[in-house]
Symmetry: C2
Subunit: 794 residues, 2 copies
């Protein structure tokens, strides 16, 4: 590694340089201290084995580079008085970010028991990666962070999400060269084609090449500089390279790089904002090449460590047992000259703190990293203006998501000036029939615009890129910094972000125990173009399992709704858009769907989450029904109501109850989920001993997993998607999966005691109709007319 020559006279005075280096050394010292020390934090006495933690955990390798970035961000933020947030991609560098936060005082203000003195330093060290202490990664517990370290790939899309609609904010983003190999990160570079220099803030990516991952060199670090430069230019950036290992030289070039980058950003924003230039700017990117584990032990046991993959975690692993390693550790710690950095009471010296900005300008204290502080209630309009009239159930059809689009248009319109609501999706807003929103805002786009394009808008707040990862990352960054949004996605392909939503749910769960973290807007998914209506696309587009995935996660956080028609979708949307700190999954169709409930009935039904539809059943109210037909999801609801109508016609004496479930967690016991129903309530809906035929939108065993503790569970029979799919008609799909009305009637006949003989002719009729379906579809390629023409009151 060669140091980038300082090509022009450096602008730093000797004092400034010394102060920056002091801050950096202090952060490095504190990083090492957290990994190793239980006590003796200032090395007031010679290091002894009992000062060292019994379990050595943490990641040193990335820490000195992060400390360098933090130090230099401090400098420019202070010098320019510029609001800034930093996303720390190499999240294993927890020690570094914690060290800086402690140095600047943010940490002690957030956690007063960890003061900025020797005693606090001892606590800072001890708690790190210690049972009952703080995680080894940048985490929700870390002041100033909106980005969990651990799983990699999301830093840059988080940074873009944070910068959107924050015109005065600088969002720096450190990207590790390991993380840079991931798909989500590789895609997220193109965020600059969506960043509006007028209404959005700036994102400054800092690609940190320390050369190695866990055990391998990183790909980008082994490209010739020219090739990497082309890659970043191809991504639309203007690269600024900082390479080195001599601290003084690196400080000088890094300071110059930061100034160049910020000057360029200021110029870009002024050009766009004051001169109305619309040409897509080439934003700066800093490429920082410094050794992995820089300033750590150069060699251990004859093997090179500093500058290699051996620095990734803990360079000296046997310090307690091995006196030579103990001496090496002490020498390493003392190499930072702690006595020059901290006074006798353990407080950082004035020189160390010289670069640190004040108050909310400190990276650990920015309110943008604690979005709930900035969050305003979303102006969700009255549903009355959008609700569809329902005189009688099942007589009219609407496309639920299209109607929702009208509601979203109003939200979009009402936030025109506030700019705190965004809709994201992978090029599917119109396909998902939400295009009414374009009436209030077009689609964000900074690249070339042609006449033939549809609703592209340099200042738009609808975000579309064919990368679910990027959509998710943008929205997370936007919500975590105190704004609102909705992600609309094809149901099957939301699995693409399974692991991202995991991390967001974990984040929200953790913040529940941190009173200083204020609630943020929920992450809302609208899953549409769902499993039952993939007429164009078939098997590859059929997967209703995201619901199963999220229901494995913290019940405090996850909510799943399956509104059966248009007005219930509006009511659910109203609820989730106003909610806080949840991950709400709403599954709703875009195809014409029967209207079952008027607005008031829909509201009442959604508030209960599950209820009896008396008008659809045939029970007398005085006795328990003979059978319960239950449903969750729009297509299953239609099939259940058609089955109820067949039963009414063919078996009029049978007492049938119809139960619809909107809020899936209602099926869980109360002690398993905040929405769970107490047993008496469940029994009152589903009975304790009558057969229940349950038509469910997704994989049928999910209903069993939710209801297995109920008294009536042995009598529960669930139909759903059995992973049988292809390109076919809507009704053929339900037939193939045994979810169709005729099959449901057969299920009822098979399960109600004593019905088998009496109802044998009806059962045969159902069987015959299914056979007729098979013959008809092979010949005509369409569904039976009696199915396509069906309405509830026929």
């Amino acid at each position: 590694m060669h140091d980038t020559p300082v090509t022009a006279a450096a602008d730093l005075s000797d004092d400034e340089l010394r102060a920056l280096d002091a801050h950096w050394r202090a952060a490095n010292y504190l990083s090492v201290g957290q990994i190793y020390l239980m006590s003796n934090p200032l090395l007031a006495e010679p290091l002894r084995p009992e000062h060292v933690k019994p379990r050595l955990l943490g990641h040193w390798g990335t820490s000195p580079g992060l400390n360098l970035v933090h130090t230099h961000l401090n400098r420019v933020v202070k010098a320019r008085g510029r609001k800034a947030l930093c996303v720390w991609g190499p999240g294993h560098g927890g020690p570094a970010v914690l060290a800086n936060s402690w140095l600047e005082g943010s940490y002690s203000e957030t956690y007063p028991d960890v003061g900025r003195d020797a005693e606090g330093m001892a606590r800072l060290f001890r708690q790190f990666s210690f049972p009952g202490g703080v995680p080894s990664h940048v985490a929700p517990e870390t002041p100033g962070s909106i980005h969990e370290g651990g799983e990699l790939g999301y830093s840059l899309s988080h940074a873009y999400g944070a910068a959107l609609d924050n015109p005065d904010l600088l969002v720096a983003c450190v990207i590790g060269d390991g993380e840079a190999e991931t798909g989500p990160l590789a895609a997220s570079w193109h965020g600059n084609k969506f960043l509006d220099p007028v209404h959005d803030g700036a994102v400054l990516p800092i690609l940190h090449l320390n050369g190695y991952k866990i055990a391998n060199p990183s790909v980008l670090a082994r490209l010739p500089e020219q090739e990497l430069d082309e890659l970043l230019r191809g991504y639309g950036h203007e690269p600024i390279h900082v390479t080195g290992e001599i601290p003084a030289t690196v400080h000088l070039t890094m300071a110059r790089a930061m100034d160049t980058a910020l000057d360029r950003i200021t110029l870009i924003q002024r050009t766009a904002r004051e001169e109305n230039v619309t040409e897509r700017p080439r934003w700066p990117v800093i490429v920082l090449r410094t050794p992995k584990g820089w300033t750590g032990p150069a060699e251990v046991d004859g093997l090179p460590v500093e500058g290699t993959w051996r620095s990734h975690q803990v360079p000296l692993t046997a310090v307690r047992e091995n006196p030579r390693q103990l001496r090496l550790l002490e020498r390493w710690l003392r190499s930072y000259s702690p006595q020059e950095l901290f006074d006798e009471r353990g407080r950082p010296t004035a020189e160390v703190l010289a670069c640190v900005p004040d108050g909310d300008l400190r990276l650990g204290s920015t309110p943008h990293a604690n979005g709930g502080l900035l969050l305003c209630d979303l102006p969700v309009p009255a549903l009355e203006r959008h609700a569809v009239p329902v005189d009688k159930p099942g007589m009219t059809l609407h496309e639920p998501t299209r109607v929702l689009g009208g509601l979203l248009e109003e939200v979009m319109e009402a936030t025109t000036d506030r700019r705190d609501f965004r809709l994201v999706g992978p090029d599917e807003t119109a396909s998902n029939r939400l295009q009414a929103v374009y009436g209030a805002s077009g689609k964000a786009w900074q690249a070339e615009i042609l006449d033939v394009d549809d609703h592209l808008d340099r200042h738009g707040r609808v975000m579309e890129i064919l990368s679910e990862h990027t959509c998710q990352g943008w929205l997370e960054g936007y919500l975590l910094t105190g704004r609102h949004g909705l992600f609309s996605c094809y149901e099957a392909f939301v699995h693409i972000v399974d692991s991202m939503v995991n991390q967001h749910i974990k984040w929200l769960r953790t913040t529940r125990a941190l009173p200083w973290r204020r609630p943020i807007a929920s992450l809302n998914y609208l899953l549409t173009s769902h499993v039952w209506r993939q007429d164009h696309n078939g098997f590859s587009h059929q997967d209703p399992g995201f619901v199963d995935h999220v229901l494995n996660k913290s019940p405090e956080v996850v909510r799943v709704y399956l509104p059966p028609d248009t007005n219930t979708l509006l009511s659910v949307a109203d609820h989730v858009l106003r909610s806080r700190d949840y991950v709400n999954v709403v599954v709703a169709g875009k195809q014409p769907c029967f209207d079952w409930l008027g607005l008031e009935a829909a509201r009442a039904h959604c508030a209960r989450g599950a209820g009896i539809w008396e008008w659809a059943g045939t029970e007398d109210g005085a006795h328990e029904p003979d059978v319960v037909l239950a449903c969750a999801g729009d297509v299953p609801t239609q099939e259940v109501l058609a089955a109820a109508s067949l039963l009414r016609r063919h078996l009029p004496q049978l007492a049938v109850r119809v139960v619809n479930v909107v809020d899936l967690a209602r099926l869980l016991p109360g002690e398993e989920h905040p929405h769970g129903m107490p047993d008496p309530e469940y029994d009152a809906l589903f009975t304790r001993d009558k057969p229940v035929v349950f038509a469910y939108h997704g994989y049928p065993w999910l209903i069993h997993r939710l209801a297995y503790r109920r008294a009536g569970h042995p009598h529960l029979h669930v139909r759903g998607y059995k992973e049988i799919g292809t390109t076919t008609t809507p009704f053929d799909m339900v037939v193939r999966n045994d979810l169709d009305r005729y099959r449901l009637v057969m299920d009822v006949i098979d399960r109600v005691p004593g019905l088998a003989v009496r109802a044998a002719p009806v059962r045969q009729l159902m069987e015959d109709t299914r056979l007729r379906h098979h013959a008809w579809i092979r010949e005509h390629g369409t569904d039976l007319p009696e199915v396509t023409d069906w309405t509830w009151t026929d």
Copy 2:
């Protein structure tokens, strides 16, 4: 769009040009025909509404571009006699790939009922996207394909996987500009840093910019050509640009581009193979810019269609109802002059077929796209050489994955010449303790190599990149072309590929019904660094839900194994490495784990999949036990055995049975999964009415979802991971999730009838020990000595 100037004299003769254009027009005609026509395939009579399908489904937009690529690939394959495979990334272009396959005869050879004549053409048209017919995407049913269309992002990593260890194969890969926005695709460009020009074949990416996705322009199509050029150079490629809309010009420039690319590939391979040059080559990439929906209707209802996003699916949507649209469709179809392309019997003319290669050189007939044809049994060595000796259970400890590493080394060694086995992983082979494999093969790496690097090898067959998506894509491509492999991954982060494994499972399920598709090697996951041992990493690295995800999928395909110790891991590995057409998920720890079973016992236990460990229980064999302690997973097994040992000591009269489950699907009913146990067998293991305390590795409700139909289910009590995690000690993790030995003993006492009073002191002792744990860990940061020192026979 401007046509790329033909800078040098074109090499095509007029006859060749005319023949290429005829082939392309024929393919376009057949593509349109599939989307629209039910009958009258050759337009022998004027088009009438009843000739048109009642439901118009399919994607025209991408088809003409794919047809162009196929036509030109035909030319170079035939001219050079070069074996080739093509991966069709824009998988919605099913009509195009089907058309070409029918033209070259591959289709009729695979499906004799669809002959290469008028009657066959009518069938080809009718079956497309028709109920009971073929999917609208490139799919397993499509001859010559290894790549499902539908979900996007995986084409290029599939292409690299196919090229590995196929030195004579050219793998072309068409990448749509929509797909190019996805994360997995963006990451996969760096595959060229891992492609060995000596032992691997060539990958020729063809980036097809038709400008639009569903409703938006694509990002890459709106970059200035210079910027895109830089991006591709930054990805390590030498771009060749082909831009145009005048067919004759495009044919000339495309032919020249293909020749340039193939000449360059030949030169690269010769340089590496004959001159031993090891510098990483800059492989060619073709950038093809042609209009979306090229040659389709220019305008419909006054709106531009050709060259816009409106061409994405079906440009004329009301052909049956609207006579003007019917005339437009007929004019469109006749614009290709079908009478010049097909003889009166519907057979393609000699001119159309002039560019088509023969036999296995045809893209639809290459055996590489039907990997089972080429697959050889993997030489898995005798387990005896690797098994650990077990005199008594629970006396010795081994790291299971480290021992497995020795087995894999032998497999790697035995395939040195055959080169048909690869190990993939996201930079975790050593972290997962499989590093013994490096004894037989290093890690593939074509970039710069430094002295400090560890086992990098230009010809290595261990593949490491920090992108789970790329690992998965490489391995899928490798397996689908007839080779073997294993993906080792951190358990939590395998969720990153949830949606990819979905598609692979769907592929395998579909191929089961296609006798011409021969079985391929299973996709094997080794999930390690699992939820219970994230001492360094904590909550973000804790997620055992991949098992839940795959168990939702086709039971014919998915298998889940949780070997409890080293020898059972070896036995499971032996089985999965030899198996075919499955997705096998193996969850096993890398940390020291007690050895419970000797090799023979391990083999017998794994063959049964679940069984009683008599030596661990206290039942007398004559009567049913009082309680069953069941376990699945290494850490739960350890806790159950410790609990059994506590029960033996403190409640010696209690008859305890210990059951271990290796093969999770055994718990399912026989009719739900091929491995499912019949009820009598289940009852014999778990009893019908005795309490079962089940300690499970993952989310506890999964066990309920598997076992809810069993008679004994009401007595089943499951402990597992409850999404409570942090950076802490191993034992503290099980305590926090109520999976620890003391809690299990309390569960037994709470559930065995009549035990509550008698065992109250024991219960109190357990409770006290848990309290002692909490106090100890807060002070020392380590686990109680009695836990860390525990062995089975204490």
